[in-house]
């Protein structure tokens, strides 16, 4: 009960203020909150050093901050000449494009972002759960009062990074909490190479960022899953979702997916270089097939494929395991039994051309038997035959 209440509380509150966590808000508590599918947006500021509790929490998640001292990302090429002509600590960057090919981007668009006094984060390479939302420009680097060795520079520094845990709980680290101030929502900035002042798009970006961080966008939902035996035209034969199939049956599989946008559930479109894949496995996948969109309703897209079941009998499962950066995870598993051929489902002997020799042998023996019976019943001894046998004796 206590955990349930704390989930609600923190879920509505949303952002956790960075400067002091207090004695009861331990890193373990925050991790447990994530385990209960709570989302956290953490705002940091370069004006103060990050507390060690936060540092250790982020280290658990493989997001590395400069230790101890307060450090700000500066860039001598992309700074705002109006507000940071000397210190160069207000960065001007365009909104990010997609992380890589095949990954849907939730933060892109036109315009210039102003990121004042950001704390740069360096992301560990091993984990597939973390991804940078906004990377620093290539000439940026972290500068602090004690200039010892620099832990990351340029595009290896992330200004906003995100972790999506395996239960789809999201932890977003915003390097510059000042970028969300009203002052920067309607500011005008001018870079060292610009001729005129430009408005910032911090407001639109904040809307995109908070929508993603609190699971309003980038959320996938599975509707119905259907599989059935199909004839050669693809029409259904028998029941929908039977529990047992036979080896080498032709079947069709369909799954319905929706995505949550700003205005409710909409049909989900898989990005062009990516594919939703179905695994048909028993211990290891016998099939891994790309599902193609077959139909779409008002709220969802139906993806499907058809294939021939393998010639190995056993307990198989249909598995969909769709995990991508910035999209919530889809994991489905449906078991079916595959039986072998029944004794009367094999081809008959006369259909097997190699068996004709034995079939003719069989029936010629039967014909010979009938002939023998009739001759034995109605044959009279023949004089010449008797003479021949007598002579041999």
């Amino acid at each position: 009960m206590r955990w349930f209440l704390s989930f609600l509380f923190l879920g509505f509150w949303g952002a956790v203020h960075a400067l002091s966590l207090g004695p009861s808000l331990t890193p373990k508590l925050l991790l447990d909150f994530l385990k209960k599918e709570g989302n956290i947006l953490l705002g940091l500021s370069g004006k103060a050093a990050t507390p060690t509790a936060i540092n250790s929490l982020l280290q658990e998640l493989e997001i590395y901050l400069p230790l101890g001292r307060s450090s700000v990302v500066v860039d001598h090429f992309n700074y705002d000449t109006l507000s940071a002509a000397e210190k160069h600590d207000v960065l001007l960057l365009p909104r990010p494009t997609s992380l890589r090919q095949g990954v849907k981007s939730f933060f892109s668009g036109d315009g210039i972002l102003a990121i004042p006094r950001a704390v740069g984060q360096s992301l560990g390479i091993a984990s597939p759960l973390i991804a940078p939302i906004l990377r620093a420009p290539e000439t940026a680097y972290p500068s602090s009062s004690k200039d010892d060795d620099i832990f990351a520079t340029g595009t290896q520094l992330a200004l906003i990074s995100a972790l999506q845990a395996r239960n789809s709980a999201r932890f977003t680290v915003l390097g510059s909490v000042e970028a969300l101030e009203d002052k920067w929502f309607s500011a005008h900035v001018k870079g060292p190479k610009d001729q005129k002042q430009l408005p910032t798009v911090n407001r639109e970006f904040a809307k995109q960022l908070s929508a993603w961080a609190f699971k309003e966008t980038g959320v996938l939902r599975v509707g119905e899953i259907k599989h059935h035996l199909s004839d050669k035209d693809g029409a259904i034969v028998g029941d929908m979702n039977p529990k047992i199939y036979r080896i080498k049956n032709d079947i069709a599989f369909h799954i319905e997916l929706s995505e949550h946008g700003f205005d409710g559930w909409v049909p989900f479109d898989v990005p062009s270089d990516d594919a939703l894949q179905l695994d048909f496995t028993m211990l290891s996948p016998f099939y891994r097939l790309n599902l193609t969109p077959k139909a779409s309703t008002k709220n969802s897209t139906i993806f499907g494929t058809s294939f021939t079941l393998p010639d190995q009998h056993g307990i198989f499962s249909f598995r969909i395991n769709y995990r991508r950066p910035f999209l919530s995870n889809i994991e489905e598993k449906h078991e079916v039994t595959l039986r072998h051929f029944a004794h009367n489902e094999y081809p008959r002997s006369w259909e097997i051309t190699g068996a004709w020799v034995w079939v003719t042998g069989l029936w010629s023996v039967i014909a010979g038997f009938l002939a023998l019976v009739i001759i034995w019943l109605y044959s009279a001894p023949s004089s010449t035959a008797g003479v021949r046998t007598k002579k041999i004796q």
């Binding site: 340029g154 080498k248 016998f286 002939a371 001759i375 044959s379 001894p381 010449t384």
Partner: protein, 336 residues
């Protein structure tokens, strides 16, 4: 006369560039202290596609506002050398890079060699230590970049030593030369410098395997399709037919041997006269049993076959006892 500009935006959309295109003053390289304009002209006339747009626009910006010439950072007395550890200063490759310009040759870095870059950073014309002095290596294929900081003394002299071990794994896999760019910048209003200094080609020991960064990432996997066992095949039909003919040939041979041994149907009218019904039923039921076997062979189940066998079999038994007693009669009469 005008020289042709290579504007990186084609067609030139930037209003500054268009203005400069039309101004002839800019195009005549003046030998004065406007070294900024000089190097910009040189780079503009360089038809290498890896022109840094930032460097060009720095020069253009400076030339548009001639009254407030912004001081800008740069470097001079730069040398880049590739040497083996322990070898003397003279051994290996050593090249001088002209002030704020780019070396045309490609520097090659092999496995045991050290790349050494030294330069003197300057603000305007005076040597000074900047806050940021990096050598940035950029991979043209993947777009990845990494920066190595120079160690700079207060009089502006900077040096950096790099070996192949210091490079990230992704760079070792690339086949094309990298751009080695110098970034010099500091706080304040001086314009920072970012320009390509030379090209660096990594020479790997081709016998050693390319190390690959092991990291799990979520994405599309390769499709797998089950390979079925090959289904059973019969031999070619002509082979089968030959042997069928061989089997069928046994029947006439058998018939011929029987005829040779004197088989006939002479007692058929005799039997028909003495016990017609039992004989007909007997022979009919034997043929019936074979017929039941044929039905079982083609479509009947055992549960349909067994009652039929029971029925026809009992007919065979009872009619057979009569028919065979007639045959016994013929035998006892000495006719058989």
């Amino acid at each position: 006369s005008h020289k042709t500009l290579l504007c990186p935006n084609f067609p030139c959309r930037c209003p500054i560039a268009r203005q400069i295109c039309q101004t002839s003053d800019f195009l005549t390289a003046s030998p004065q202290r406007l070294s900024l304009l000089a190097f910009t002209t040189e780079i503009i006339l360089d038809y290498d596609m890896r022109l840094s747009w930032q460097v060009l626009s720095l020069g253009l910006l400076a030339s548009v506002v001639p009254s407030a010439i912004a001081v800008s950072w740069g470097f001079r007395d730069a040398t880049v050398s590739v040497q083996k550890k322990g070898a003397g200063v003279g051994a290996g490759v050593q090249e001088k890079i002209l002030e704020n310009k780019r070396l045309p040759q490609v520097i090659k870095l092999g496995e045991p060699y050290t790349l050494k870059v030294t330069l003197t950073t300057q603000e305007g014309e005076s040597p000074k230590k900047p806050h940021q002095a990096f050598l940035q290596l950029k991979d043209p294929d993947t777009g990845l970049d990494i920066s190595y900081p120079f160690s700079v003394k207060d009089n502006g002299k900077a040096r950096l030593e790099l070996m192949q071990d210091d490079l990230p794994i992704q760079f070792l896999r690339s086949l094309h030369p990298f751009d080695a760019e110098v970034i010099i910048g500091s706080f304040g209003s001086s314009v920072a410098y970012h320009g390509t200094a030379f090209s660096l080609q990594i020479e790997r020991n081709t016998a050693a395997p390319i190390p690959s960064p092991e990291a799990e990432r979520y994405g599309k996997l390769k499709e797998i399709r089950h390979i079925f066992n090959p289904s059973a095949k019969s031999p070619p039909i002509i082979v089968t037919l030959v042997f069928v003919v061989v089997v069928l040939a046994a029947s006439p041979i058998l018939a011929g041997i029987w005829v040779f041994l004197g088989a006939n149907l002479n007692h058929l009218p005799v039997a028909a006269k003495s016990a017609p019904l039992p004989h007909v039923i007997f022979v009919g039921s034997i043929i019936g049993l074979e017929g039941i076997f044929f039905m079982y062979y083609t479509c009947w189940t055992l549960f349909q076959t067994l009652p039929a066998v029971l029925a026809v079999g009992s007919i065979t038994f009872f009619s057979g006892s009569r028919a065979l007693s007639e045959v016994q009669g013929r035998r006892l009469a000495g006719l058989r």
